[in-house]
Amino acid sequence: MMKFLSKLNRMDRRIVFLLVTVVILIPLLLNIQSRLYVDKATHDLFNRIDAIQPGGQPILISFDYDPQVAPELDPMAVAVLRHCFAKGIKVIGMGLQPQGDAIGEAIISRISKEYNKKSGTDYCYFGYRPGGYIVMLYIGENVKKALPQDYYGVSYDSLPMMKGIHNYDDIPLVLSLAGSTWPNTWIMFAGTRYKASIADGCTAVMAPEYYPFLQTGQLVGQMAGMKGAAEYEQLIVDAGYTKSKDIASKAMSAISYSHILIILLIVMGNIGYFVTRRMENK
């Protein structure tokens, strides 16, 4: 028995990989779903977007992420866009990350078709804008200077939706979907200098870094990781904007079971470590 316990912390990692794969696949294949506890930060973001007048000022969604974090952030973008289009809130889309250019366009054009929304009148997508914080400063001074033409080559002046949009005073919310520190930059340059309302959708790795900004009110809301996306999906279903939950909600059971497996493996590994140490001391 002691020998078996001592082998626990020397388990072949390929067995761990296999166990993780099986534990993730079973709930996905069996479509096991469960209700979520919705975090206050996600609630605050939902309420902030829900309070925007339909057909009035647009929100700005910045697709500041790469394909490698798309499984966490794509569901967030889809959920927020469904909320906006179902309620009739206009959307300005852009990105500060080069690879986010095509990701943003694919998502925004797919979801807009579901709600029969038109580019130029219901949403505008400007694609990747080079310059990082320079773009944020330009938007604060003159949006037209930062976004001279949209992704499809239509000039700013020819976009009916952009009439009357001059700077952050005309944009009630900036939502940065990012897998890195772009929300921090938005807070600094747009939030601090121009008093813009900033919210973020971030990967789970980055979420703890932004809790201090939530606490001080520098961020008005947050979606943290795939769970944050699942929470937002639940909120828009509960509010009646969509009928069924999407991809992030379906993954929650898989995440829960995989976490239980990780906890068991950590406990087993620690038992193996202490047993080995005890055997060596003898």
């Binding site: 993730i24 294949l29 798309a70 600094m188 790795v205 995440i255 995989s258 976490h259």
Partner: protein
């Protein structure tokens, strides 16, 4: 199964990368090099279309000759490859560093320092909802104690004895709990990425998940 050749390509390349979990192999190496090459190629084209054309080619076509000044300053970066002239590279570095610092430092100090110090202060709004997870009294007291104790742990100008030892020991507990929470989130993030890939393979490629 999907009939789209691009989904098949993405699925096979995903499996090629996953094959590394068993052991390193030529299939994995091929997929890795393909990804690296594609990324570089994409970035070169994107840089040309989003930087060079709107900020260099179009201004020159419109006879805006003042653009030559920033172009010339930017070109000084290439003096790195001429040893005798490599000191000229410091000029564009100084300009961009000076501009970035002048713009960023005041905003950083306000957003990341002053606002965060303000956040550790207990105020009357915390009494409205004592148990609020972000702005409640309980959380406010914890943040105040945690901040002071954690900072005291990193105070090395005096030996950690007496009251300083107690606060430093408390601070290290806060640090370790913070690291644990951060690690837990990291595990969730990595699992989410794996689940995303599995959803693609078993939804878009093999239509097993509905």
């Amino acid at each position: 199964m999907s009939g789209n050749p691009w989904i098949w390509l993405a699925a096979l390349l995903s499996l090629a990368i996953f094959s590394f979990l068993y052991k390193d192999n030529p299939t994995y190496k091929f997929a890795e090099h393909l990804f690296t090459g594609l990324t570089v190629g994409y970035m070169v084209v994107l840089t040309w279309n989003t930087y060079a054309i709107p900020y260099i080619v179009i201004p020159l076509q419109e006879h805006r000759w003042l653009i030559f000044i920033p172009i010339a300053v930017g070109m000084l970066y290439f003096t790195k490859f001429i040893p005798k002239l490599s000191y000229l590279m410091l000029i564009p570095i100084a300009i961009s560093l000076g501009f970035g610092s002048g713009l960023g430092i005041p905003l950083y100090v306000e957003a990341d320092l002053f606002k965060q110090i303000q956040g550790t202060m207990i105020n009357t709004s915390m009494l409205k909802n004592i148990w609020d997870p972000y702005n409640g009294l309980v959380v406010g007291i914890l943040i105040l104690i945690g901040t002071i104790c954690t900072i005291s742990y990193f105070f090395f100008s005096r030996e950690h004895k007496g009251a300083l030892k107690i606060s430093a020991s408390t601070g290290i507990w806060f640090v370790m709990i913070g690291f644990g929470a951060s690690f837990g989130y990291t595990v969730m993030a990595r699992m989410s990425l794996l689940i995303g890939r599995m959803q693609f393979l078993f939804t878009d490629w093999i239509h097993l998940i509905k």
